[in-house]
Amino acid sequence: MRPVLLVAGALTALFFLSLALGAGRLGTGSDAVWLLAVSRLPRTAAAMLAGAGLAVAGVIMQMLARNRFVEPATVGTGQAAGLGLVAVALLAPGAPLWFRMLVAMASALLATAGFLALVRRLPFRDPLLVPLTGIVYGGILAAVTGFIAYENDLLQYIDIWMNGEFSGVMLGRYEFLWLAGAATLVAYAFANRFTIAGMGEEMSLSLGLSYGQVMALGLAIVSVVTAVTVVTVGMLPFVGLVVPNIASQLRGDHLRRSLPLLASAGAGLVLTCDILGRIIWYPYEIPVGTILGVIGAAVFIWMLQGRRADAG
């Protein structure tokens, strides 16, 4: 139980640190309460929800693709959500937020299903080819999006959700992220099924599980979490990759057991990076996506190299 306690403790500390930090001074009285309620608390909650959701989406993605090195932000889910947003901006410029969200979810779902179908056609599920294909697949979607945006002067617009940041989060502008939280709870309820699906279609069938249903549910969770994150705060790389890999080394792949740790570690990572982004260049801010890219990539490379010793 110790890692969970440790993470929970760290998370609480980070939570209060995040509340205390900001460009404006936190005074006393009603002003302070107002600042907390409108800005600091929503921002902190947004970071935690996005982090937990993406970590869980990452692990589900890995179970469905049966590969440890994929995550929604690199294999096209996030890019597809962006493509959907650009399409809405062009075809129905005045559409309400919920409609944009819905389109983003739908396109994320389609693209992720497409990726998984592609993975099934790869030779012997070569562990290297899967993430490589995912990155190229995501690259194509990003290129198409970039092309459309460039032709229609929307580059500025896509830049906003290509690079995740929380500085714009305020009361009334982040609530959709609670959907990601809900998706996390759903994932926990069905944790055992995802674990079994991770062992393959044949294993699922022989245990009497409908592989198709689990697949569909997993796809839905991954798309909802990713689309919601992209629309409200922008793309956050590496959370879905680094956190599940570390959690799997600590706790194994039994999701029922590892999900709580996973979700809180994801929340902690994003919150830490957001806090760092607020401190490093004070009083300016560095987007959390950039910090995550640096820290996440560094940790991941360290992990890859570290595995050499026991594999060798």
């Binding site: 790869l122 562990p127 490589l132 910090i291 990539a297």
Partner: protein, 313 residues
């Protein structure tokens, strides 16, 4: 047979170049040819540099789905550019603009690439780990550039932005001539290695058994690859999948494994393709968008098709 393939590719390039120079030209021919000629040269140099560096890199790593760009070489160059602007400041960077800057960047790039990729390639038997490390390293380098560029004054930031997206619109004259010179020299050097590349393609152990100092050869070739990447990135910015597309086509149509044919073939195919795309874009479709974006998307598609086809056989 081999000569034929090269001749056809050569004809393809010449036809593309003529089309590019003449299509829709009106008015003062001297001006048009000079203007378009310079652009044609830029397209050709970039395509040749990307195609040949990709092919050599694939031979060294005994792998046909990796490219220097996928492994993060381009990202490294952009990071070095950003770091220079960061440390020198906008004024300093502006003072060095053009050739001195390019020389400095390239020198730093060769040093950094030597260290980073030397470490990575030492373990080149473990392909999976090497590739993943490379890809993630690319993301790390890109994020670091992003981080640094946030720390740079917004006014200086514009300078970095201009160099981190691939485009053919703002190639500078001086730089182009230097890049052409370097590219021709490096290509000549690579061609001298053609026979050795045939042996290296058999894999590290086999190459050593056949008497090649594999490590030294690979290092030397890697410096040449780095130079080519530096040239193309300095001219137009990072290009990720184009090299993959060209090398895949070259292997398909070559019908040979000899680098003496493969290398010039891929350069000609790539240059012809880029020129045709640019012609289509500028003259036929009249699009303002960047041709490389489309070439990149097509390159990515080809990559995935290749994988699936390989799975079937």
């Amino acid at each position: 047979m081999r000569v034929n393939v090269l001749l056809i590719a050569g004809a393809w390039y010449v036809a593309a170049a003529l089309l590019f120079l003449t299509l829709g030209a009106r008015g003062d021919w001297g001006f048009i040819l000079a203007f378009r000629g310079q652009k044609l040269l830029a397209l050709t140099v970039v395509a040749a540099a990307v195609a040949v560096s990709t092919m050599v890199f694939q031979t060294i790593t005994a792998n046909r789905i990796l490219t220097p760009a996928i492994m993060g070489f381009d990202a490294l160059y952009v990071l070095i550019q950003t770091m220079l602007v960061f440390t020198l400041g906008g004024a300093g960077a502006f003072a060095l603009k053009g050739m001195p800057m390019f020389a400095l960047e390239t020198a730093l790039m060769i040093g950094a690439a030597g260290i980073l990729f030397g470490i990575m390639l030492r373990r080149s038997e473990d392909l999976n780990r090497m590739v993943l490390t490379g890809i993630v390293l690319g993301i790390l380098l890109r994020s670091l550039s992003g981080l640094l560029s946030r720390l740079i004054d917004p006014s200086e930031y514009a300078y970095v932005m201009a160099s981190s997206y691939a485009q053919f619109t703002n190639v500078e004259g001086d730089l182009l001539w230097a890049a052409t010179g370097i590219t021709i020299t490096v290509l000549a050097l690579v061609m001298l290695h053609a026979r050795r590349l045939d042996v290296i393609a058999l894999g590290r152990d086999n190459a050593m058994i056949l008497g090649l100092e594999h490590r030294r050869e690979a290092q030397r070739l890697m410096v040449l690859v780095t130079l080519l990447v530096a040239v193309s990135t300095a001219l137009v910015g990072p290009i990720v999948f184009f090299g993959l597309l060209v090398s895949a086509i070259a292997y398909q149509v070559a019908g040979t494994w000899r680098h003496a044919t493969l290398l010039p073939l891929s350069a000609l195919i790539g240059a012809g393709m880029l020129v045709v795309c640019q012609t289509l874009f500028e003259r036929v479709l009249d699009l303002q968008s960047n041709v490389l974006v489309v070439v990149e998307a097509v390159g990515g598609l080809v990559f995935i098709l290749l994988l699936i086809r390989r799975a079937r056989t």
